[in-house]
């Protein structure tokens, strides 16, 4: 062992520079995994750490409808029999518009209004911005406690009054964080008021986008109680949840996100592994004589393998440790770049568990990818010292290499499965990676083959450059594979972004309203329409809307006690705004059944939107029962409709045939298309709310801005990770250039001796890497564009357009990058004196 340790130490001392790329490849991969995992774990800690505090209770019964006396009786019956319920309260929440009472202040903001009653919260802490425990007295007599950010947004201060709906509230305090932190997408900042005054504000009267909750604190695990309540409330759309389930769901979501992100990190690490394999292969090739000498001096093959394995392990560990440092640096960059998009109290430190995992992965990948090159040591015979013949068998794959190769693939699959947290996803990842690698490699082989056919063309320099791509031990294919893969990821993301952004580019939709006014009462129509027309100069389009829930499909109530159906509760258990009209809209088409005709004028008929029809598994001819303000209406599904959302003014999931709903309680939605300046829009909103406080107004520009921000953050995040993949590819490129450098030096020395000028040699150098870069650019861009087409058309089902500037840019930038890196890494070769080189050979 002493021999192994001593020789390892000495070899590292002399070879570390040559293995620097090995080290960096591992560091980059480990850094990516540790950074991504730490980021999501830290995010989990802030956002989803305490579902109990988030719920402010142990158990929650909630509905977007009023609880009927029957429902309440059922709930009370179950609760009454339970001995574990300690406390109860009710809350009510909705999104609404808030505006300062001061008429001089024209601000207006969407807020998330929550009416509460004592004791609140049932569990967890609730503190105001000044650090004091929340005192319910702050809310009494129309008081409000608001998120501090709202002071700035509405340009108000504590003590000022706000108008929400028909009521006026005085700001009595602010909060920085509500119980359990913040979670999910919010329309606006939080405002707490008394539940009682919530009702007084008139908001509950007309709008249905309200969620009512009955909350309980229990002394023991509430799960059995949840089961009993769900059973009792079967057939209703009332949701019953415990913090435990909520926590499980949150944990599941975060674990899944973490695993998917880790796979991205693993992609970089595997690419690093390819670099490791390449460096290890060339390293062992360079060490052939040393290995032969050691064998000649009596060292066995296994001991020599042990020396180099220990060397790889040491570098793997150091590289991985450096990776952890890189991860910390990456997190600081993430903080600097995404601080606005991430929670305020989030930590940006790498986590201990993730670091260990990263180091373990780094070492495993180092060993796995260098195993096959290390096995070549067995084939190196000491007799090569006597006759410097090429060890012809060195690259031959014998049975032991096949077995080892298979073991490496199995181990890699194990790692992928471990990281993905799923056998299917892990296998898919590895298969996808192998497939992509194979496509890139095949393309590289074909293109270089074509290039070889043309080597007789061009000048001396070009011919030499083409020849260089075929020199013994050339790195052409490995560079094309590694750089190609990196560039492919970046270009594919860009290509998909272009199409995705175009898809979300609402300005392309000529029929997209600029403003939407909902919950307009019949008696308010004239007033609202007049105000809109006066301000905008356009007559608004008016659509009747009826609030309805799905009560049954083909006579059977939707059973939310089943977990998979419960998961879709938000989608199908919610209240829908439905309408009725005689004609199909211009942006709609029938995919199943027929639009209503004059036949059977009295039969209730409904048209269902395609995606919803698929979710509910209904087709034309089925029946659906809706609950409209407590009245059950059963209609035949006349047809299934496809809506082109790119050209939609409104998009209704359910449309009834006129006749059935005409007399049902209804409100109206008004839409306008014309765009007016933001200040004018705000003034119109204020004026309408002043006169008709129940009307809800959506400014589409605000929604577009929010979506744009979401998409752009998403793209930046993916491009950020993608650039790491490209960086890995560049590292492999630099490593490959370094590996063939001694050969290039020797060739240049001979060419100089034969009379080649430095300019000629420089032209050869530029041509070689220019050609290599061009090939890498063509391969990666071609594959990226094809991939973006497949993903856009078949996975995301969005429109795909060929992006010429991106395609040309992809090829040119990749070519320039490869040329620059390759030439920069070899440039000093041009200035070497030939004699010293030739003498040393």
């Amino acid at each position: 062992m002493k021999f192994i340790f001593n020789l390892t130490r000495r070899e590292i001392r002399s070879s570390w520079r040559r293995l620097l790329f090995f080290f960096l490849c591992i560091a980059l991969g480990v850094g990516s995994i540790v950074a991504l995992r730490s980021l999501i774990q830290n995010l989990t800690k802030v956002v989803g750490n305490d579902a109990r505090a988030l719920m402010t209770a142990d158990l929650e019964v909630s509905s977007t409808n009023d609880f009927t006396p029957t429902d309440v009786a059922k709930i009370e019956d179950v609760i009454g029999k339970s001995a574990i319920v300690e406390a109860r309260n009710e809350t009510i929440s909705t999104a609404s518009m808030a505006r300062p009472s001061d008429p001089a202040n024209e601000s207006l903001e969407f807020v998330e209004l929550r009416g509460i009653e004592p004791p609140f919260p049932l569990v967890g802490n609730f503190a105001t911005s000044d650090g004091q425990a929340f005192d319910y007295k702050l809310l009494e007599n129309n008081g409000a406690v608001i998120a501090r950010i709202l002071l700035e947004e509405l340009n108000v201060k504590v003590g000022d009054k706000l108008k929400i709906g028909e009521a006026e509230f005085q700001i009595r305090g602010t909060i920085d964080e509500e119980p359990g932190g913040t979670s999910g997408f919010r329309m606006g900042a939080r405002v707490f008021v008394e539940k009682k005054s919530f009702d007084d504000a008139g908001i509950t009267r007309n709008t249905s986008r309200i969620r009512r909750r009955i909350l309980y604190r229990t002394s023991e695990n509430p799960t059995p109680l949840v089961t009993q309540l769900r059973e009792a409330l079967k057939g209703t759309t009332i949701q019953v949840n415990s913090y435990r389930e909520q926590q499980e769901n949150l944990n599941e979501q975060f674990a899944r996100t973490e695993n998917y992100l880790s796979l991205t990190g693993l992609l970089i690490l595997v690419l690093g592994g390819v670099g490791v394999w390449n460096v290890a292969r060339a390293f062992i090739e360079q060490k052939r004589k040393t290995i032969a000498v050691l064998k000649c001096l009596g060292a066995t093959g296994n001991r020599v393998i042990a020396v180099y394995l220990l060397q790889i392990l040491t570098l793997g560990v150091i590289g991985s440790l450096f990776g952890v440092l890189l991860a910390q640096f990456g997190l600081w960059v993430a903080k600097w770049r995404f601080v606005d998009a991430l929670p305020a109290k989030m930590s940006y430190a790498v986590t201990f568990a993730t670091s260990w995992q990263g180091i373990l992965l780094g070492v495993l990948i180092s060993v796995l990818f260098s195993a096959l090159p290390l096995l070549q040591i067995r084939s190196i015979k000491p007799k090569l010292l006597l006759r410097d013949e090429n060890n012809v068998n060195i690259n031959r794959l014998d049975w032991s290499k096949w077995i080892f190769g298979a073991l490496c693939v199995a181990a890699l699959l194990g790692i992928a499965v471990w990281q993905a947290g799923s056998l299917k996803v892990g296998a898919f990842f590895l298969g996808g990676l192998a497939g992509t690698g194979l496509v890139l490699y095949s393309a590289a082989v074909i293109l270089t083959w074509v290039l070889k056919r043309t080597k007789s063309l061009g000048t001396f320099s070009i011919r030499q450059a083409v020849n260089s791509l075929y020199r013994p031990g050339n790195q052409t294919r490995i560079i094309l594979l590694a750089v190609g893969l990196g560039a492919f990821v970046v270009i594919a993301v860009q290509a998909m972004q272009t199409n995705l952004v175009r898809e979300f580019d609402f300005s392309r939709n000529q029929r997209l309203p600029s403003m939407i006014f909902v919950d307009v009462q019949k008696s308010q129509i004239d007033g609202v329409m007049e105000m809109i027309e006066k301000a905008i100069g356009e007559k608004a389009e008016l659509v009747p809307t009826v609030r309805a829930r799905i009560a049954a499909v083909n006579g059977e109530a939707v059973n939310f006690t089943q977990r998979e159906i419960r998961q879709q509760q938000g989608q199908i258990g919610r209240e829908f705004a439905i309408t009725y009209r005689p004609k199909l809209d211009t942006n709609e088409s029938i995919v199943d059944g027929e639009w209503w005709t004059a036949a059977n004028p009295d039969e209730p008929q409904v048209s269902v939107e395609q995606v919803m029809a698929e979710t509910l598994k209904v087709t034309a001819g089925d029946s659906m029962t809706f609950d409209i303000s407590g009245r059950k209406v059963t209609a035949r599904v006349a047809n299934v409709r496809k809506i082109d959302v790119r050209n939609a003014r409104t998009a209704f999931v359910f449309v009834f045939r006129p006749g059935t709903l005409d007399k049902a309680p209804q409100t109206f939605a008004a839409t306008v298309l014309k765009h007016i300046p933001a200040t004018d829009r705000q003034r119109l909103q204020r004026d309408i709310l002043e006169k008709f406080p129940n009307v809800q107004i959506f400014d589409v520009a605000d929604i577009i801005a929010a979506v744009d921000k979401l998409v752009s953050n998403f793209v930046i995040a993916i491009s950020f990770v993608g650039s790491f993949v490209l960086l890995s590819g560049i590292l492999i490129l630099i490593g490959s250039v370094a590996l063939t450098k001694s050969q290039r030096i020797y060739e240049n020395a001979i060419l100089k001796t034969l009379g080649a000028k430095r300019l000629t040699l420089a032209t050869i150098l530029f041509s070689e890497y220019g050609l290599l870069g061009l090939l890498a650019g063509v391969i990666s861009t071609g594959f990226a564009v094809s991939m973006s087409y497949v993903v856009c058309r078949y996975l995301m089902a969005i429109e795909w357009q060929f992006d010429l500037p991106l395609t040309i840019g992809g090829v040119v930038i990749t070519a320039l990058l490869v040329t620059f890196v390759g030439v920069a890494a070899s440039f000093d070769v041009l200035f070497r004196k030939p004699l010293a080189t030739l003498r040393s050979q």
Binding site: F3, E11, L294, L297, G298, A299, K381
Partner: protein, 223 residues
């Protein structure tokens, strides 16, 4: 005692088989200084490599101290080389990543010996390289590199020293110095010295001279 019985070595050259050694049988008693000479391609280096177990014969048997090395595994051969054989090459074959001192240490470390640093120092003293131990091979002249190789070959006190044209890459002055060192160490340590050389002057100084012609022993004379 080294015994070669009916050794034949054939290699594949392109599409044809090429016989390098043809039915060679030699016995070398312990402590003898043997010079093997012959024209280029006569099989001298191949013969030396077969004795060291660096390669296997196509047919025939080789015994070292009555142990048949031709029936020994790769790892067994490594052990025999480590314990019994020292080798000096024409092109030195020092490990470029190790200093002169470390190159001398290596055989002893492979064998797992203790207190090896002092012995390595003595060996470098013996080849007049006392102050050059910290230098890397690339920083040494050809003669110096070969002296390090000799110190390395003697590190494990082998019974047999095999030298393949050890002076072939050196000028005559350095060549003579190396030759003197080897013969001196051979005499002091009573090792069997098998020297492959082109140089008739050096060969004449050996106790026994074997001449190879086209892979066969054409002359075997003992003084």
């Amino acid at each position: 005692m080294i015994e070669l019985k009916n050794i034949t070595k054939t290699v594949r050259s392109g599409t044809e088989d090429l016989t390098i050694l043809n039915d060679v049988s030699i016995e070398i008693p312990d402590g003898q200084f043997v010079a093997i000479t012959g024209a280029s391609g006569s099989g001298k280096s191949t013969l030396l490599g077969l004795i060291a177990g660096l390669d296997a014969p196509s047919s025939g048997k080789i015994f070292i101290d009555n142990d048949e090395i031709t029936a020994t595994s790769e790892d067994g051969l490594a052990r025999i080389r480590s314990e019994k054989i020292g080798f000096v090459f024409q092109s030195f074959h020092l490990i470029p990543s190790l200093t002169a001192f470390e190159n001398v240490l290596i055989p002893m470390e492979i064998l797992g010996l203790d207190g090896v640093a002092a012995r390595a120092g003595k060996l470098l003293d013996a080849v007049d390289l006392t102050n050059r131990g910290h230098h890397y091979p690339a920083e040494l002249s050809g003669g110096e590199q070969q002296r390090v190789a000799i110190a390395r070959a003697f590190a494990n006190s082998p019974k047999i020293l095999l030298a393949d044209e050890p002076t072939g890459n050196l000028d005559s002055k350095n060549g003579q110095h190396i030759f003197d060192l080897m013969t001196q160490l051979h005499a002091q340590n009573k090792v069997t010295l098998v020297l492959v050389t082109h140089d008739a002057t050096l060969a004449n100084q050996a106790q026994r001279q074997i001449v190879l012609t086209d892979g066969r022993v054409s002359s075997d004379e003992t003084k």
